[in-house]
């Protein structure tokens, strides 16, 4: 329960101070290194991590398929 409350609190704190940003003001947000998902160069890293570790997901990637058996 306290964990859930923590997430909600984080969401509220994180989004409460939002400013409206116009398209012409998004040059920093649109920078290639500001992308809110994994970058293409991380593709193989994510693949081997999902094979070598028990946890996977929540990274906007695939959540199954392929083997990873070796």
């Amino acid at each position: 329960m306290s964990k859930n409350a923590g997430w909600v609190l984080l969401l509220l704190v994180g989004t409460s101070g939002c400013q409206v940003v116009k398209e012409f003001q998004k040059n920093r947000l649109n920078d290639a290194e500001m992308i809110l998902s994994n970058r293409k160069i991380e593709k193989t890293e994510l693949s081997f991590q999902s094979y070598r570790e028990g946890a996977s997901g929540a990274n906007a990637g695939k959540s199954g398929g392929g083997c990873g058996c070796n």
């Binding site: 809110l36 890293e45 570790e53 028990g54 695939k62």
Partner: protein, 396 residues
């Protein structure tokens, strides 16, 4: 004389107006399908360790993998000015594995000692920039010697009215087939447990949701939640498990697994030269595995076109309920595994990347948009170590 001059000036302006281009309609966009970008990612991966699952949690985990993937992305705008994106991706991995060679150690080199995996995928999406909505779907295939996977996905997203927040929902299905190749000494009725022959299925169903939010001109974040259900043959048929009484068995795991990863990502552009990319994930499943992942990458812009990005990732997991090392499983258990990927451990992954994106293209080639090189070293508390080098070339 003045009248003549004014008439000449008037005629000149009139001529200019007549021959000048009309004001283009800013909303017009090409309806022809054209290449938006091409991405080529190549990687070299090498690992070694002392806990191969094929040999029951002991033995070399040496493995080398070379992977290449090529993605071509095409776009067009339809008659309602909606952006359509078509994407085709093909990947090719080739690996050699020391432990796979132990499935049948009598052979000089078993079938799975080296293998090639090919994985094409296609996707389509349509975005209405005015409404802030997008939907799409995709199909994928992955095939290697003993494993095939067919995948399909659908996704949709909706931005808030002020375009500062966006909700994305994605559903994915993977229908996999595992070819049941058992360790040589357990074939032909020599296993203490009954073993199925031929192939078996492994299906994965997932629902992914994310909420991304722009906080200000420098700061944006995202919350991610996946619900993943796997059904079918979730063990690997060639993984041995040695019991305390000396008998050897094929790994046996439940035929259902429910996974819940919760993620949080926050990116901040500090000053004019520093980008901070952070990520945290908490994971749990019904096999008893709990995991924390935290990473931080700092991209330092040496100039607007060249950046250096050191990164660090920390990972820690508890083991699954069914794990025990070599010769420590007691007889009589329903499920058992000696796969150290599912044991308790911590890992560290660190390295750096460099990215070059000059305004006139890399090497002066106009559409050669960027080149990126990244190296990472991975070390796990149960002896596994690996190194990876990746290269990304982008045409746009």
């Amino acid at each position: 004389m003045k009248k003549i001059c004014l008439t000449v000036v008037g005629l000149y302006i009139g001529l200019l107006a007549a021959f000048s281009q009309s004001n283009p309609d800013s909303s017009y966009r090409s309806r022809k399908l054209k290449i938006d970008e091409i991405n080529l990612v190549s990687s070299y991966y090498h690992q070694d360790g002392d806990h191969a699952a094929v040999t029951g949690g002991i033995g070399s985990q040496k493995l080398t993998d070379i992977s290449n993937s090529l993605e071509v992305k095409l776009i067009r705008y339809d008659h309602l000015n909606r952006k359509q994106t078509w994407s085709a991706d093909i990947g090719l991995d080739h690996y050699t594995s020391a432990s796979s060679d132990k499935i049948d150690p009598k052979t000089v080199s078993s079938a799975s000692y080296s293998d090639t995996r090919i994985y094409p995928s296609f996707s389509f999406s349509r975005e209405n920039e005015q409404k802030g909505t997008e939907w799409g779907g995709g199909l994928s295939y992955s095939g290697e010697f003993d494993y095939t996977s067919i995948g399909a996905n659908l996704h949709g997203s909706k931005k808030t009215a002020n375009k500062m927040g966006e909700l994305t929902v994605k559903g994915q299905v993977y229908l996999d087939q595992v070819r049941l190749i058992y360790p040589i000494e357990l074939r032909d009725g020599n296993s203490p447990d009954p073993l199925k022959r031929g192939t078996d299925s492994r299906n994965s169903y997932s629902l992914s949701t994310s909420w991304s939010q722009i906080i200000n001109q420098r700061f944006q974040l995202a919350f991610l939640l996946d619900l993943v259900q796997q059904k079918g043959y979730l063990s690997l048929p060639f993984n041995r498990v040695y019991f305390t009484n000396g008998t050897v068995h094929v790994e046996r795991l439940p035929d259902s697994r429910f996974k819940v990863p919760l993620g949080f990502r926050a990116n901040y552009f500090a000053g004019d030269r520093l980008v901070l990319r952070s990520y945290y994930r908490y994971y749990f499943d019904n096999w008893g595995l709990r995991a924390h992942t935290a990473s931080l990458e700092t991209s330092v812009k040496i100039n607007p076109f060249f950046s250096v990005s050191p990164f660090y990732r920390y990972y820690q997991q508890t083991g699954i309920d069914y794990f025990a090392p070599y010769l420590t499983h007691a007889p009589g258990k329903e499920f058992y595994s000696s796969n150290f990927d599912l044991s308790k451990f911590t890992s560290h992954f660190f390295g750096t990347g460099i990215r070059l994106a000059p305004p006139n293209g890399v090497l002066g080639i106009q559409h050669f948009n960027s080149i990126e090189l990244r190296y990472g070293h991975y070390t796990r508390s149960n002896t596994l170590q690996s190194n990876i080098v990746s290269l990304h070339l982008k045409w746009k």
